[in-house]
């Protein structure tokens, strides 16, 4: 227990001791965190000098990540497709409750696309629609997605969904439509404009977002001090989404 407390203290320290709660403080939070995602000029392409990543402290998520999932739903508008059955609904992100079979130790964490450095979904896609941007964000280029769903077969995290019906009135910044596969894209539209992904904003005290390639970024510092484990590390995919407290 003392170990856990120790790293919680360290985590708080890396967050810079920002106070929480209310609108006023969230404005402060934004200005502090704005340094995590430097605004890129709109006409410049993304660079491979950067690799975006996320560190989620499972123990600090009071709701197991439910508010992150809600924020994602709101941002991208998935989860309420009118005709799809429950098992056909898209889920870009979900909270998973894990209970160890022997020890019965239990925790809940949010699971979405892990933005692998070696993504199996990109390897298998016949057209190259499933792609990794230069800055490490894995996403679907829906313009050339033929809907074969091979990437869904290949993903070890079950991070991808297929849209089973025609949709209207999508979010203008997050196109999603019939017959294509979709998944978490780390809110590319926000990151490109220097904003944080929606889910990170929804859990500012438990999640750090930033550049994994920059040794001085908050996320790199935090990972250096506290570690950051991967789900299914045995697959050697070198994920960009890391967890504390698994």
């Amino acid at each position: 227990m003392s170990q856990i407390n120790a790293y919680r203290r360290k985590f708080m320290a890396t967050l810079g001791g920002v106070a929480v709660g209310g609108l006023a403080s969230s404005v402060i939070l934004r200005t502090v965190q704005a340094g995590d995602v430097p605004a890129k000029p709109a006409d410049q392409p993304v660079s491979n000098q950067v690799r975006w990543g996320m560190l989620i402290d499972v123990n600090r998520l009071t709701d197991g990540g439910a508010s992150m999932v809600e924020a994602c739903k709101r941002e991208h508008g998935w989860g309420n497709d009118p005709k799809a059955r429950p098992e056909q609904q898209a889920q870009w992100m979900r909270t998973v409750k894990v209970t160890d079979k022997l020890t019965k130790y239990s925790f809940t964490l949010p699971v979405m696309c892990q933005h692998c450095e070696e993504p199996p979904c990109v390897d298998v896609c016949p057209t190259g629609a499933s792609m990794k941007r230069a800055d490490g964000i894995v996403q679907v280029n829906k313009h050339i997605c033929i809907g074969c769903r091979y990437c869904m077969m290949a993903c070890p995290y079950k991070a991808r969904s297929f849209v089973h019906e025609s949709l209207t009135d999508q979010r203008p910044h997050s196109p999603r439509g019939i017959g294509t596969v979709e998944s978490c894209n780390l809110c590319v539209h926000r990151v490109d404009q220097g904003q944080l992904p929606a889910c990170v904003e929804a859990a500012p005290n438990a999640v750090i977002f930033g550049d994994l390639n920059d040794p001085n970024s908050r996320i790199s510092q935090a990972m250096k001090a506290l570690g950051g484990s991967q789900i299914r590390a045995d697959l050697s995919l070198n994920t960009g989404v890391r967890y504390l407290g698994l």
């Binding site: 993304v46 209207t168 439509g177 904003e201």
Partner: protein, 170 residues
Amino acid sequence: MPLLSHIKSLLGLVLLATLLVGCDAGVPEPNLAPAKAKAAQCVEPTADMRKNHMVYLDVHRDKTVIEGIRTNKHSLNECINCHVVPTREDGSAVHYTDEKKDHFCASCHTYVGVKLDCFQCHADRPQIVENINYQHKLSSNTYHLSAQSVQPDMNDLLWLSQSQTQGATQ
């Protein structure tokens, strides 16, 4: 070759039927009013746009998705924001699939019979609930795109505070 003759006669029948139907229906009148309304303010000359809008969109879409270049000039979202009115006077939503064909893109695409599949994924009208200032004003009476990127900060903050109060109540 009895099989061949069967096929021939069948083909003939189908051809005749399509011809007859085609003649009967006539050419429907296009509704170009929405398209013409804002032609003068477009990011490219009208004649160029008429001919090449799909090329501009195609080039821009790859730049955006693959390279993350998010300029406004040839962005489909901005076309929609400027050219499509979200609702009719009676309050009903304007969609490209509507029978009335008063959606900016549909008015012409239906007439020339070219399939539009942008809007299978993209929103086909401005989402006013999300962003009240969806059109960028240059001055008090011109609605056009500024060279600068969008700054939806106020909205965002509003949204953030909402999510926090929600988190508190849970």
